[in-house]
Amino acid sequence: MLLPMAPARDPMTPRVARVRKRRRDGPQVFTLDIELDTAEADDLAPFAPGQFNMLTAFGIGEVPISLSGDAARPGRLVHTIRGVGAVSTALVGLRPGDAVGLRGPFGVGWPMEEAVGKDVIVVAGGLGLAPLRPALYHLFTQRARFGEVTLLYGTRSPDDILFRHEIESWRRRLDVDIEVTVDHALADWHGHVGVVPWLIPHASFDPEESVALVCGPEVMMRFTIAALRDAGLGEDAIYLSMERNMKCAVGLCGHCQFGPVFVCRDGPVFRYDRVRDLLALKEL
């Protein structure tokens, strides 16, 4: 006997989730660990590194937030948020037990399968480390499938370093190279000072057999792409996570239209050669 099929969930209707944990990860930056009720979680699709969810602060609004947790633990929905606007400020103010709306996961993530067998250079700027963290977890847990793995992370000052304790634990690994730089620091900082693209010429990777994953403010990404190209990387080996004004998240409303593509549906991760010309257009 055929069982009646459950009606497909409307992608525009949020599920109600609860904040399980809230942790401060930097100035105005908080990581929310949220969970769904068992009934709500049943048909939740697993996420891929680089995808995002739409989170609702009830009564205020909805914003796209990248998943920053481990995709191998799909029940744990982790989002790292900087409180800058009305919605994100409300989200970072939520406490354990508070309700939050959730739609997703959406979008195209990082090319983890294309990177197999190659050197992987991960370049993150500021909060851009959050959408890259699931990719890093994947690289670390499946380390043997990749060549050299390098993380270059740049941020504003030592106080702004995201996931600081975790970066310190990653640095203890002998099979990854991790360099952190800040734009300015006081004398008690003994690490690099300077912009993150400057670290690229010192990184160890074979430009013919590498994939670069880049996420950060767009200006930082433009300088990073130039440095990666100078280091010999092809345009088809560089992937970026783009940030645009995503609303519906399913390619209908057009708010995030970026030339011929929708960032929510066709991105947020794009191969550089496919968006190179669009990046140069100020109107977009």
């Binding site: 105005q28 700027g125 702004d160 300015h184 006081l186 690099h192 000072v193 912009v195 010192h202 200006v219």
Partner: protein, 153 residues
């Protein structure tokens, strides 16, 4: 001197330098060492040396009254400390502090300037090596001024 020539030719900054030019540079060069915490130079001092770092890291700092010194750049092996020697009035505009023990080649700036003036082909070769460093630092400064990681307006 042979040892110094070899070190110079192996330094990233002088990659591919003609042998004759290497001899000219070596005539202005010596090995130097700084201990951690020691200053290579201070803001306002005459920019009379250029340092090619061989080992260790240097912090470039600026101090303001009532504030601790702010490091705006660190430089390491294979990099150059000091661009002010190129442009009059040849004074440093920041402090340079050794973060760890430094081994470097120091080039006498006046000696190098005179050789550039006397042999413009040599001078042009030097300019082609130093100008990209200037441009690279200008780009980095732009990115820092833009404060790209700051809270969006």
């Amino acid at each position: 001197m042979e040892g110094l020539e070899r070190i110079l030719m192996q330094h990233r900054f002088f990659a591919g330098l003609e042998a004759g030019y290497c001899e000219l540079v070596c005539g202005c060069a010596k090995n130097v060492r700084f201990e951690a915490g020691q200053y290579l130079f201070h803001e306002g001092d005459p920019a009379d040396q250029i340092y090619l770092l061989r080992h260790g890291r240097v912090a470039l700092e600026m101090a303001a009254p009532g504030r601790n010194a702010v490091t705006f750049q660190t430089l390491g092996e294979g990099e150059i400390v000091g661009i002010s020697w190129l442009i009059p009035p040849y004074h440093w505009s920041y402090d340079a502090r050794a973060l760890e023990r430094i081994r470097a080649i120091s080039l006498d700036a006046a000696c190098l300037r005179n050789k550039c003036e006397a042999d413009h082909d040599f001078g042009y070769d030097m300019m082609k090596r130093f100008v990209p460093v200037l441009v690279e630092r200008l780009h980095a400064t732009r990115m820092q001024i833009l404060d790209v990681y700051g809270t969006p307006a």
